[in-house]
């Protein structure tokens, strides 16, 4: 358990962390969310003892990080923002070095390193020099370093930044696999990632904890009414007539598609009202063919934007790309695929193709990047395919 009490960090005049208080319970995956410069890295550096706070207290299982640094640091594995690798060592040597410093007994050190390397899948590059590894592998060596010695708490600072979509998914899988028997805190400014992996979310902005809770709690807490998007064959007036007659409609906006005979409308429903059924029957009664109906729930993104305020427009853009992933993402994703009439496998192949196209100039130099892509290519897991597609959707 980590307890952070009245944490303040001041850099000259700048207040990076402003009276932060929170408790991290055991066995959960915590997402540490916030815009750039919100104080995520500073807070993590303080928790791990890399940086001293101006005032306040950090207790790791009751051990103060300044009073008993050894006892406290033994409980933590930390991956800083930039993986702290010595470029002139191989991953194997490096992990032995870290293991020795963590005080792992000599007789189990080698087997421990071996098993950690297998878990993050770096066994086949263990004898290359760190400086020759691709970004994805470097990140994995960094995670391996944090996992070594099996500390109960693992802290990862933006572990997926700078990776390509395929690597991001792989790293996420590693983090998910850590969930058993570990408390994981990881920071990110990518919301989809946090909502996908984490069981609890902490949102921090300007050095303050804005809110904290489980993913569902947060959505529930900031829930507004549902918004329905429809596009219908028929006239403007007919649609407007139907909508104004329906119960549970708070407001609506009808736009005429020029001359094609299709009309789209954005309907804001009253809180708690489910009008989809009534709406479809009413439209069919008016002989208006429904071409598309989409329900948009309050997403984490909108919660985030509302909480962080400030540069909301940036996040709305970002959020737009992630809508299909947030909340109960599956319901949104399903119809999209059906409508397009493509299978998940096709999407996966397309995604992988575009990934390799996009990243060719940078990553394809490395053999392993190609290996990774083919690995996923041959995967027959539909779920991975969907995720991949979503990612492609949002990132590219």
């Amino acid at each position: 358990m980590i307890e952070v009490k009245n944490l303040v960090k001041r850099y000259g005049d700048h207040l990076a962390v402003d009276d932060l208080n929170f408790t991290v319970e055991d066995g959960q995956i915590y997402g540490f969310l916030g815009p750039n410069g919100a104080g995520k890295t500073t807070t993590m550096n303080i928790i791990t003892g890399c940086l001293a706070a101006t005032s306040g207290e950090v207790l790791i299982d009751g051990h103060d990080i300044y009073e008993e640094p050894k006892a406290a640091k033994r409980l933590i594995g930390y991956l800083p923002e930039i993986p702290p690798l010595y470029p002139d060592m191989t991953p194997y040597e490096y992990l032995l070095f870290v293991g020795e410093l963590k005080g792992i007994p000599k007789r189990v050190l080698k087997s421990e390193v071996q098993s950690v390397m297998e878990r993050v899948q770096i066994t086949d590059v263990k004898n290359r020099l760190n400086k020759n590894l691709s970004k994805g592998y470097k990140q994995r060596v960094g995670i391996a370093q944090a996992m070594l010695g099996d500390p109960p708490i693992i802290i990862l600072d933006e572990p997926t930044v700078g990776l390509d979509p395929v690597q991001i998914i792989e790293i996420r899988e590693v983090i998910k696999s850590l969930a058993e028997g570990h408390t994981v805190i990881f920071s990110s400014h990518i919301l989809s990632e946090v909502s996908e992996i984490c069981t609890r979310i902490m949102i921090i902005s300007d050095g303050k904890l804005v809110t904290e809770g489980s993913t569902e709690e947060l959505e529930e807490k900031f829930k507004g009414g549902t918004v329905i998007d429809i596009s219908v064959k028929g006239s403007n007036e007919a649609v407007a007539g139907v909508l104004s007659g329906l119960e549970g409609v708070e407001s609506f906006e009808v736009t005429d598609d020029d001359g094609s005979g299709t009309v789209s409308a954005k309907i804001k429903c009253a809180e708690g009202a489910d009008i989809t059924e009534a709406l479809s029957f009413a439209l069919i009664e008016q002989r208006c063919l429904i071409l598309k109906m989409d329900t948009e729930k309050t997403s984490l993104e909108s919660v985030f934007v509302r909480l962080v305020g400030g540069n909301a427009s940036d996040y709305e853009d970002a959020a737009a790309g992630y809508v299909s992933q947030s909340g109960d993402g599956e319901t949104d994703v399903g119809p999209y695929y059906d409508e397009e009439g493509v299978s998940a496998e096709d999407l996966l192949n397309n995604a992988v193709k575009s990934v390799s196209d996009e990243h060719a100039p940078f990553d394809m130099k490395d053999d392993e990047a190609a290996d990774e892509i083919t690995d996923v290519d041959t995967a027959d897991n539909d779920e991975t395919g969907e995720k991949e597609a979503e990612n492609d959707d949002s990132d590219l």
Binding site: T48, K73, P80, P84, V98
Partner: protein, 290 residues
């Protein structure tokens, strides 16, 4: 600590610094021995070591510049700080590994007096002076390495670290020539020494970020000086020159080379080593506290 020691030691030979240093040291030593001992037919190996000290001006910055600067640049210092190892052990591990690399050719130099004794028919060779000077040379290097590692902990730029330790070492070296003409009056010495104390207090203040400690050092050292100045001003005649001579590390090697085993100097070398290692720990801790 042993893990850091081993890693650092290997790193010296991975990036060639260690090989280049050892090779250069041995070549220069062989050359000097050839010129001094063989060409001039002088059996005193201590003279060779005495001249070898000039090489330290270049060698020490090269050996120490990477130490903490590179760590900071690669952000690997964050790894070390997040692991259950104390800062003093990190510093000690790095220091000892640099010292080991430094000591390799110095240990090899121990063979020279034995070789020279084969050609020394008159029995003029003095093992005491030779090995005494080698030991003093080792300790001089040990204290300069502490200085270099401290400079390296101040910056993440290796070049700046090298220039800083070069500056310290060359000033120390120049002072040891005792050719500076400084005013020797009591008042001038008093002012000069006060300025030196002020510089020292400022360094301590910069390292601890604690103005009380800085002022305390300044005042505690100045009070006895002021008392001496007003009660017995004669004692301060030429005092500044004396103080500077005593500060110089290189100056201490002279006694050994002339056959005097000066225990005070040994203690001084060890004190400077300890002081700068302590400064290094403080400067690293300060980086976390500021």
């Amino acid at each position: 600590m042993t893990a850091i020691y081993k890693r650092e030691f290997k790193a010296f030979f991975r990036n060639m610094t260690g090989f280049i240093y050892i090779a250069l040291f041995l070549i220069v030593m062989a050359f000097l021995s050839n010129v001094i001992n063989f060409s001039n037919r002088v059996p005193n190996f201590e003279y060779v070591m005495f001249y070898m000290r000039i090489g330290l001006i270049v060698m020490i910055p090269i050996l120490t510049m990477r130490s903490f600067s590179e760590e900071k640049k690669q952000k690997t210092d964050q790894l070390l700080f997040s692991l259950p190892v104390s800062t003093s052990k990190i510093v000690l591990g790095k220091y000892l590994s640099t010292l080991t690399v430094f000591a390799v050719p110095v240990v090899i130099s121990c063979a020279y007096p034995l070789i020279l004794s084969k050609y020394d028919a008159s029995g003029a060779i003095s093992y005491g002076a030779s090995y005494g000077t080698i030991l003093a040379f080792l300790l001089l290097g040990a204290s300069l390495i502490a200085v270099g590692i401290f400079m390296s902990s101040l910056t993440e730029n290796q070049i700046i670290a090298a220039v800083l330790s070069f500056a310290y070492i060359i000033i120390d070296f120049l002072i040891s020539f005792k050719i500076l003409t400084l005013p020797s009056s009591s008042t001038a010495s008093f002012i000069g020494i006060v300025v030196l104390i002020a510089i020292m207090s400022l360094i301590i203040f910069a390292l601890t970020k604690n103005s009380t400690i800085g002022w305390m050092v300044f005042i505690i050292l100045d009070i006895p000086l002021a008392i001496v100045r007003f009660i017995k001003p004669d004692l301060l005649e030429g005092g500044l020159t004396k103080v500077l001579d005593n500060i110089s590390l290189f100056d201490k090697l002279y006694d050994f080379a002339t056959g005097v085993f000066n225990v005070n100097s040994i203690v001084y070398f060890l004190t400077i080593t300890g002081l700068f290692l302590f400064f290094t720990v403080q400067s690293l801790e300060k980086r976390r506290w500021s």
